[in-house]
């Protein structure tokens, strides 16, 4: 899949930082404002999709293979289960293991950690599926020039 013009590439390069920061903000402030892990992950995934559409699937596949995304996604799932298991330190399944503090960021204990892991799971998983879809279109649907295979 070929990339787009230089204008689109430069605008994507400028905007993607803001998109990523906004996604992280939504993820990490899920317990104080609407949002959370799923929403932030989707925003981060939108930023990466914008990059891939602007710079082309070939360049994206040179940078990252989709099975790497699979590994990160599995790490997110494992971390979420570990957050659940860490509750046994304080008494039971999914009990808030981190002591609550009077703080804006980590005031709600393990909700923040679980949010971050869910964000990792969903964002990397969806990006991996998107990369795999792009790879499929490159081979079968003749988008742009032919691939290396």
């Amino acid at each position: 899949m070929k990339g787009m013009t230089l204008v689109v590439q430069n605008i994507a390069r400028v905007v993607v930082g803001f998109v990523m920061v906004y996604g992280l903000y939504i993820t990490l402030s899920g317990h104080t404002s609407p949002g959370g892990g799923f929403a932030g992950a989707v925003v981060i995934m939108a930023g990466i999709v914008m990059l891939v559409l602007a710079f082309g699937g070939d360049r994206a596949h040179e940078l990252v293979a989709e099975y790497r995304c699979q590994g990160w996604s599995g790490l997110g799932a494992l971390g979420f289960v570990l957050v659940a298991l860490a509750g046994f330190l304080r008494g039971g399944w999914f009990v808030n293991a981190v002591p609550k503090a009077d703080s804006e960021l980590y005031g709600s204990g393990s909700i923040l950690v679980a949010d971050a892991f869910v964000c990792l799971l969903v964002a990397t998983g969806l990006v991996g599926v998107f990369l795999a879809l792009i790879a499929g279109t490159r081979e079968t649907m003749h988008l742009g020039r032919k691939g290396k295979t």
């Binding site: 939504i26 899920g30 317990h31 104080t32 404002s33 609407p34 949002g35 959370g36 799923f38 929403a39 989707v42 925003v43 995934m45 939108a46 999709v49 559409l53 989709e66 099975y67 699979q70 996604s73 599995g74 997110g76 799932a77 979420f80 289960v81 659940a84 399944w93 999914f94 808030n96 609550k100 005031g107 709600s108 204990g109 393990s110 909700i111 679980a114 949010d115 869910v118 799971l121 969903v122 998983g125 969806l126 991996g128 599926v129 998107f130 795999a132 879809l133 790879a135 499929g136 279109t137 081979e139 649907m141 988008l143 295979t149």
Partner: protein, 193 residues
Amino acid sequence: MIDLFILLLIGFMLVAGLIAVESSDLLSAVIAIGAAGFALCVIDLLLGAPDLAFPQVVVEVITLVLLIRMIMTRHDTARQTPRDTLRTAVALLCGGIFVVAVFLAAGGAGGEGALPPFGEPVLARAPEAGVSAGYLEGTADDTGARNAVMGILFDYRGYDTLGESTVIFVAVLGAYVVLRRVGRKRQGKEAAP
């Protein structure tokens, strides 16, 4: 007033869905799907669920961009499926039965409805207001989360969220299995590096 607006939006979604199914042009079908999704976002916002509306908006935008990108590069239109009278009749019959069931469940024909009235869920009703009211009162103290939705999703009902993310994880794994390139390459070219 807000109920009327929500009903209007639901009607809009129905029309958009019909256009998406019946249209012979792929581009207009995709745009109709997007319109239905954005109407759903507005319904979420009207019902006071910004947590739900926000990911919905982003997912709608992404799917719209991806589908339009696919369609603009494919240059073909959907094949017209021939009309089947029997299938249409069965679909209409099932739809009619569903509508009648909902009408009776809501207490339409003068009887006692099984469904609670709109905006008053069963868990929040006065005599047995145990679960819902307890969650709403205790979220700030129990979990420290100011957003009650997050407090319920990741603390009280964390097990549900674990199942939810398991569903996403398994769906992603299934997509990898269907779409992977690595296995396909090895099968096709044994000698290639």
